[in-house]
Symmetry: C2
Subunit: 322 residues, 2 copies
């Protein structure tokens, strides 16, 4: 008897059906051991990897297309934070053997939608079974002009602190999905499920800012990263932090300041860059709001209320191993 090369085992059929249509140039149709990529000449590569686990980073019954798009977008947000342009991504999916084909189809459809929107393609990856919850990992590749990536370190005393978009919607959205916060039109839940990586804005401000990152673990905690990297104190005026109408209505200011999943850009820039930043934000179609400043002092974040008094905060942000 001979072992026929066809039919393929189910794992390969699954990859061929759902993931091969997502494969970009260099992915070799996901048929080789690795992808081949000619990096853009004269550019630095920017690389980041994030994991997402069902029950931790998304809800078990979340629509699979939104799960896929959130995974891709949180990684794209890391590129945005560095001021990089996206190139492509690798993906590993560990799923229970009972996962039905519709889940994979929805997951792949979400990736297809966002590949189109953000101009990236799948380069490679792996699909395995797990006795646990769905576990996803995505590695994103981007590129930036040499030496021009936005770094966390570099803020100077006197720099102003800016943030894109609105803050707190995603944290409130998670509360809304749990039934703890009203969200009649689904705006908050949408912000939790579908981050908007600020790629255009990030690329537009690389020459204007001294430092920056994306807000993923909570505004205050992430501002703390800039403080530590610079050895400076940051003062945030809570009343200046941009809130959506839905977030204002929720009246959960502390949650907004410390909740995670915003995926907005937090930037340190000299005062003289203010006008250029506003123009860049207008071009990118994303609001950019000045919310505080850096000053000499110990590496910490001070949050002031509307009257200029220090605000008590129970915790600065989110940690997985707390």
């Amino acid at each position: 008897m001979s072992a026929a090369a066809d039919p393929l085992p189910a794992e390969f059929a699954l990859i061929a059906r759902h993931f091969r249509p997502l494969a970009g140039a260099g992915a070799l149709e996901l048929g080789d051991d690795a992808a081949l990529l000619s990096p853009p000449a004269g550019r630095e590569l920017v690389l980041s990897a994030d994991a997402m686990v069902a029950g931790v980073h998304f809800l078990e019954n979340d629509p699979p297309d939104l799960v896929a798009r959130k995974l891709l977008r949180t990684n794209l947000s890391d590129l945005a934070a560095m001021g990089a342009a996206p190139l492509g991504y690798l993906l590993t999916v560990s799923a229970p053997k009972t996962t039905d084909d519709a889940w994979f189809a929805g997951f792949a459809a979400g990736l297809a939608t966002d590949q189109e929107e953000f101009g990236v393609a799948l380069l490679g990856g792996d699909t395995t079974a797990t006795p646990g919850p769905v576990s996803l990992s995505l590695t994103i590749l981007g590129h930036v002009a040499p030496g021009r990536a936005i770094r966390r370190r570099g803020a100077l005393a006197g720099d102003e602190l800016w943030v894109s978009g609105t803050i707190g919607d995603a944290a409130l959205g998670l509360c809304a999905l749990r039934g703890e916060v009203a969200d009649a039109d689904g705006f908050l839940a949408g912000r939790y499920r579908l981050p908007r990586p600020r790629l255009s804005l990030g690329q537009a401000v690389t020459a204007l800012v001294h430092a920056g990152l994306d807000v993923s673990d909570g505004l205050v905690q992430d501002a703390g990263h800039l403080c530590r990297a610079a050895g400076l104190t940051a003062v945030i005026e809570a009343a200046s932090v941009p809130l959506s109408p839905a977030a204002r209505a929720a009246s959960r200011l502390e949650l907004c300041l410390t909740g995670g999943d915003d995926y907005e850009l937090l930037l340190a820039a000299p005062a003289e860059a203010a006008e250029a930043l506003r123009r860049a934000a207008e071009t990118a179609g994303v609001p950019l709001t000045r919310i505080g400043r850096f000053m000499a002092g110990p590496a910490r974040v001070e949050v002031l209320d509307a009257a200029g008094r220090p605000m008590p905060l129970a915790r600065p942000g989110w940690s997985h191993f707390g």
Copy 2:
């Protein structure tokens, strides 16, 4: 009250303690949103990602240093299969909150050992909690001269089929760890737990072979990939397949031919390359054995016994979603 930037939450402390010492140039000490890498000028990048889950790809009580080394080595084997030289890697670790510090310390120590052995460094990644088993994902980056990567497609009728090292030890090693096969000196278990990526050999044969891959899902199934990519029949002479003394003693030939986790190179090369292949193997310090040939015919693998009769095989190899 102010939110002090120090002390850091436990997740950051864990990364600083165990993973920052592994960070290479470009990883920015794992302190930024992404890594920066200047790709080697005039080279193609080679990229691959693999996932490993406790209870599926390794045993729950496997020593964490060996788990880490297996994860890194299976990815390095993908580079070896393409004839690429390693550059660096990104890693995501999803672990139960109860995972103790000693596990992470052992895991990182294993990575440190193999970083030294294979000349790679950690570029970035993510650490998250999971309610399920430990789930790992690693993306490897390598480089190769443009157009010189070994591909799965390209075998020609008349090409000979070669395989490196010995086949079946890892599948028998898993049986040994389950107590089903004798393994007094632990050789078989060692081959299961610690693959040996054939990086030097892969790089040495890029100009000699028409096609190749690494044997991860079983010799017969992986030979089938070369057949499908070329539209050819492969004939494997079972008696020629190189077995270790321990594998010969086990007398489980079918398991050896179809079990996974070998991470040896399977290569298609013209007959006139035989002498150069032997010299390359000698230089790399890895045996290379001719085990069959490609011929015109339907895309399938025929396995012949010592008498030249077709061997019955229950299944060609390993699939996660069967």
